[in-house]
């Protein structure tokens, strides 16, 4: 068979891209090896420096290649070169530029690239700022990671095994059997791309992935510094300070990235919340908790020399878990348990090797060094800050481990052949996370009041008495005012019933306690100095965040409870009827509101439904507040109903609404049409559907936009009055004879779906024959769900304050030596 000469392909950019992927891999390999040799010659400065020079050249080449790949891939998307598989699959012509960024990282290849990109940027910062003796071992580790990431992008076959998946692969290479590619001019035949998943067409999806991946990248550095410290046997204060900065940075960025994902879910997914314990969400939460734990034990180590082993373990663990979560979300192993895992690209083997290589190598190093790690001779006191920092971190890590195991069931099932699933993830995870969070919040409140080494317990108790009292009083007032239950009965071992404080109340108390205790700490111990307030601010933010979660989730109220049609299964109260049908212009009461579906309009592919909310007690009252929400829905040919919620934000609550179902208007059938014929004289009336039609007069000189009278025409118009239920209309169908041929000009009332046709004149009878074609009105309704989230703003406020706290700390410790 002859090779087909394709016309119009723009291959040179893709070839350049391929070239840079190979170059980036080769250069990172060079950097990894040269840095390692430089490190091994650390005793001989001249040799070490010359190797380091080579390594840097390699790394600069690598970084440049990564930047070039990013630029080329973005250019291909921007220019809509659909002969490239990645471009075709993830983008389309109608996308605005900022969503092209989302296209860039929608697929696995692009997101690996994003990860590599951040690794390269952060490493360049180390080189430029001067990494000192740490540069060689740290950047060697980073470069090895980059080698593995680069293999994910090369997409070449080694024997029959495909290594990686190239973003520069052509469509015709990936699906050679498609007959389209028999045509040499196929490029001009691809009119548009497959498009970006509509759920990702949201501004959060423009910024959430890069921030989250920056967090993943950042977590590599505490890991690499831990490895370097073990190789050097250097756990000095200088090392601790550098690592502390990286850990703070990781915790801040990863945390912000996760929260942005929550904000995206809240704004564009219709499960009604910001956190669903989805495996993909958990996979980023677990490494974050490890990083936070490592941050706290590192503080303890820096001041007292205790908790080094756990610090190293937590910091390495954080990166291990980033690798593990990469494996879980990209290998396809999560299968049907997650809504937003990546599609399997058949790289699970490669991902497994990537993960195991780093975990096993670093774990072996850790075990080998374990016994020789420096350790203070004296045991920590029971009243010391370092002990409680450690215990608190341990509690957090155990929680993270439990979440991690529960997220891994699909993977565990695959190994053991089991089939265990979690029936109701939200209540399952909430159940134990709530208790752990109570404990963590109490640690957050009290630990700072312990001093390092040893504490005067009487003073400790005295300092905490005031916050304890304030919190207890506030808790009782708020719990009572917000109508949370104080007590709840627990079933122990499925038989013994024990009354106990409700976990809501304990959470309320512990989060308020954490907030109050940290505010007091800021004013009394830190004397209000903003510079050193990072920890206090972050802790207050964390407390507020949990309080916001508690209110918005614990007091969440579904307003759209269906009371109209509750006759089926009255005895079955387990299922609340949470969706309500709104017919157009028929107000329905929901909580404090009367809600009316007013109209809809279609923009691009989405239909926006104008839903008016009027706050009033009775339908006839004057509303005290009126607003309109525009939830949208599209019947997507590829994905079915895609519903985008719309939310009204008040300072003390959100009203969240989304469309859960709409009538399918495309399924209009001929059956809905009915024909009625009538012979009428002037003045006669006929009933059609819900309207009365009166023949008022016969117009001998009719006019109509599309009728152009000619000499010789015989024309007549039937002047009809149509009395509808709400409105009256006028119609004038025409009957025209031109050159012995009959023509009928129909007239139509759109609102009623009624068409009138002037069929014939019977001059002898003095009557005319009219045809009325009426269409049963289209069903005009939406089915909606409306949820009230009280005090959800506390959650967002808490998130922002917590992030600010991290950055205050980071700034304060920026120059610590």
């Amino acid at each position: 068979m002859n090779e087909i000469q394709y016309i119009g392909e723009r291959l040179w950019l893709g070839n350049l891209g391929h070239f840079f992927t190979l170059l980036s891999m080769a250069a990172s390999l060079l950097a990894a090896i040269a840095y390692a040799i430089s490190f091994s010659h650390r005793k001989n400065e001249i040799v070490a420096n010359s190797w380091r020079k080579l390594a840097r050249a390699g790394f600069f080449t690598h970084a440049f290649s990564i930047f070039a790949i990013v630029a080329i891939l973005f250019y291909l998307i921007f220019k809509h070169y659909f002969e490239y598989q990645y471009v075709w699959q993830h983008s389309s012509l109608d996308l605005p530029v900022y969503y092209m960024l989302s296209c860039f990282w929608e697929g696995q290849e692009g997101s690996f690239l994003l990860w590599s990109f951040w690794n390269a940027v952060l490493s360049l910062i180390i080189i430029i700022k001067g990494g000192g003796k740490w540069e060689a071992p740290v950047l060697s580790t980073v470069s090895w990671v980059q080698v593995f990431l680069a293999t994910m992008l090369i997409g070449i076959y080694i024997g029959s095994y495909k290594l990686g998946s190239s973003p520069f692969a052509l469509m015709r290479q990936n699906m050679p059997a498609n007959p389209l590619f028999m045509n040499p001019e196929y490029v001009s035949l691809i009119k548009d791309g497959n498009g970006l998943n509509p759920l990702l067409q949201n501004y959060w999806m423009v910024i959430h992935p890069p921030v989250l991946f920056l967090g993943f990248s950042a977590s590599l550095f505490p890991f690499a510094y831990s490895i370097a410290a073990m190789l050097f046997n250097d756990f000095s204060r200088i090392w601790a300070n550098i690592t502390l900065r990286w850990t703070l940075f990781t915790s801040a960025i990863l945390g912000i990235g996760i929260l942005m994902g929550g904000a995206w879910a809240y704004e564009s997914l219709s499960f009604g919340g910001y956190w669903a314990w989805d495996p993909v969400e958990n996979a980023s939460l677990v490494p974050w908790i490890f990083s936070i734990a490592g941050l706290h034990t590192l503080m303890a180590y820096r001041s007292t020399g205790h908790a080094l082993k756990s610090t190293l373990f937590f910091l390495m663990g954080s990166f291990w878990l980033v690798l593990y979560s990469t494996f879980l979300t990209r290998s396809g192993i999560l299968g049907d348990t997650s809504v937003h895992a990546f599609t399997d690209l058949g790289m699970s083997g490669q991902l497994l090797v990537f993960m195991l290589t780093f975990i096993i190598a670093s774990a072996i190093l850790f075990i080998v060094k374990l016994l020789s790690l420096p350790q203070p001779a004296k045991e920590e006191s029971a009243y010391s800050r370092e002990l409680w920092l450690f215990v608190g971190s341990l509690v957090a890590v155990i929680l993270a481990t439990m979440i991690g195991i529960d997220t891994s069931w699909p993977a565990i099932n695959k190994i053991t052949g089991g089939s265990r699933v979690i029936i109701d993830p939200i209540s399952h995870y909430n159940r134990y996370s709530a208790w752990f969070t109570v404990a963590i919040l109490i640690f957050v409140a009290v630990t700072q009041y312990f001093k390092f080494k040893n504490t005067d317990t009487a003073k400790w108790a005295k300092d905490l008495a005031l916050p304890l009292g304030i919190s207890a009083v506030l808790t009782i007032i708020i719990t009572w005012a917000a109508d949370f239950s104080f007590f709840i009965t627990y079933k122990l071992f499925n038989s013994v019933e024990v009354p106990f404080l409700s976990v809501y109340m304990l959470l309320m108390f512990s989060s308020i306690f954490a907030i109050v205790a940290n505010i007091q700490y800021f004013f009394t111990v830190l004397k209000g100095k903003a510079k050193v307030s990072g920890a206090s601010v972050a802790h207050v933010g964390f407390g507020l965040m949990i309080l916001g979660v508690l209110f918005s989730a614990g007091k969440k109220e579904v307003l759209s409870i269906n009371t109209l049609f509750d006759f089926k299964d009255v005895e079955n109260e387990q299922f609340k009827r949470e969706n309500i049908l709104l017919s157009k212009n028929m107000p329905v009461q929901m909580g404090d509101y009367w809600v009316t579906y007013k109209s809809d309009s279609t923009q691009r592919f989405d239909t926006y439904y104008a839903i008016q909310y009027q706050q009033k007690a009775n339908q006839s009252d004057v509303p005290s507040r009126t607003f309109t929400l525009y939830p949208s829905a599209q019947i997507n040919p590829k994905m079915g109903l895609i519903s985008n919620p719309d939310t009204r934000h008040f300072w003390d609550k959100d009203i969240f609404s989304f469309i859960s179902s709409v009538p399918d208007r495309t399924a209009e059938s001929e059956e809905g049409l009915s024909l009625k014929e009538a012979e009428l004289s002037v003045g006669d009336t006929v009933a059609v559907n819900n309207a009365l039609i009166i023949l008022e007069a016969i117009d001998p000189n009719p006019s109509k936009e599309d009728y152009f009278p000619l000499a010789g025409d015989v024309a007549a118009g039937a002047k009809l009055q149509v009395l509808g239920i709400e409105k009256n209309y006028r119609l004038e169908p025409l009957y025209v004879i031109r050159n012995l041929e009959e023509t009928h000009y129909e007239d139509k009332v759109e609102d009623l779906g009624l068409t009138a046709r002037f069929e014939k004149i019977y001059p002898d009878k003095g009557k005319i024959k009219l045809q009325f074609i009426s269409q049963t009105p289209k069903p005009e309704y939406v089915i909606m769900k409306v949820i009230k989230f009280p005090f959800i703003n506390l959650l967002w406020l808490g998130c922002i304050i917590m992030s600010i706290g991290f950055f205050i700390s980071l700034r304060y410790r920026q120059h610590a030596k």
């Binding site: 699959q89 497959n194 498009g195 998943n197 499960f271 009604g272 049907d336 997650s338 809504v339 599609t343 399997d344 045991e379 920590e380 029971a382 002990l387 450690f390 215990v391 341990l394 155990i398 439990m402 089991g418 089939s419 265990r420 699933v421 979690i422 029936i423 109701d424 209540s427 399952h428 134990y432 208790w435 122990l492 071992f493 499925n494 969440k556 579904v558 269906n562 049609f565 089926k568 299964d569 387990q574 299922f575 609340k576 009827r577 949470e578 969706n579 309500i580 049908l581 019947i635 590829k638 994905m639 079915g640 109903l641 859960s660 179902s661 009538p663 069903p779 309704y781 089915i783 949820i787």
Partner: protein, 134 residues
């Protein structure tokens, strides 16, 4: 023994107790036959839509009532009732994963997970979840 070791032991013991006491939240993939034999217990059942003509959803009447017939992977058929709106594209789905329990002859689903052939994912399967209660 160091205090930190004691703390670890206590906490791990608590965690294990807790995991055991909450293990009732776990379940396994089953078929209608086992769901019938353990009526009232929650299971996940995988299957396909059978008798598409018998799907019933009339939102004008009740927007929260949808019923259909499903055949599980062993070929056993049961009527399924879902107290929520009919998921869009339901008839086109390849596999259906139900979470719920038997009540008499009827399987009451609290959650429906659909695997639809999706063009976004290159002909691969895509899942969508629908829940009756929040």
């Amino acid at each position: 023994m160091r205090k930190s070791h004691i703390a670890i032991l206590i906490i791990i013991a608590l965690a294990i107790t807790y995991i055991i006491s909450t293990s009732s939240n776990y379940s396994t993939y089953e078929n209608f036959t086992t769901a019938i034999s353990k009526e009232g217990k929650e299971f996940q059942v995988v299957g396909n839509l059978s008798r598409p003509d018998a799907m019933y959803y009339k939102p004008e009447e009740d927007p929260n009532f949808f019923s259909f017939y499903m055949k599980d992977k062993q070929g056993k058929e049961a009527k399924v009732v879902y107290k929520g709106p009919q998921p869009a594209d339901f008839a086109r789905s390849e596999d259906i994963v139900l979470t719920g329990k038997m009540n008499g002859d009827v399987f009451e689903a609290s959650k429906i997970l659909l695997k639809c052939p999706s063009k976004y994912n290159d002909g691969k399967l895509e899942t969508q979840t629908f829940e009756a209660k929040s």
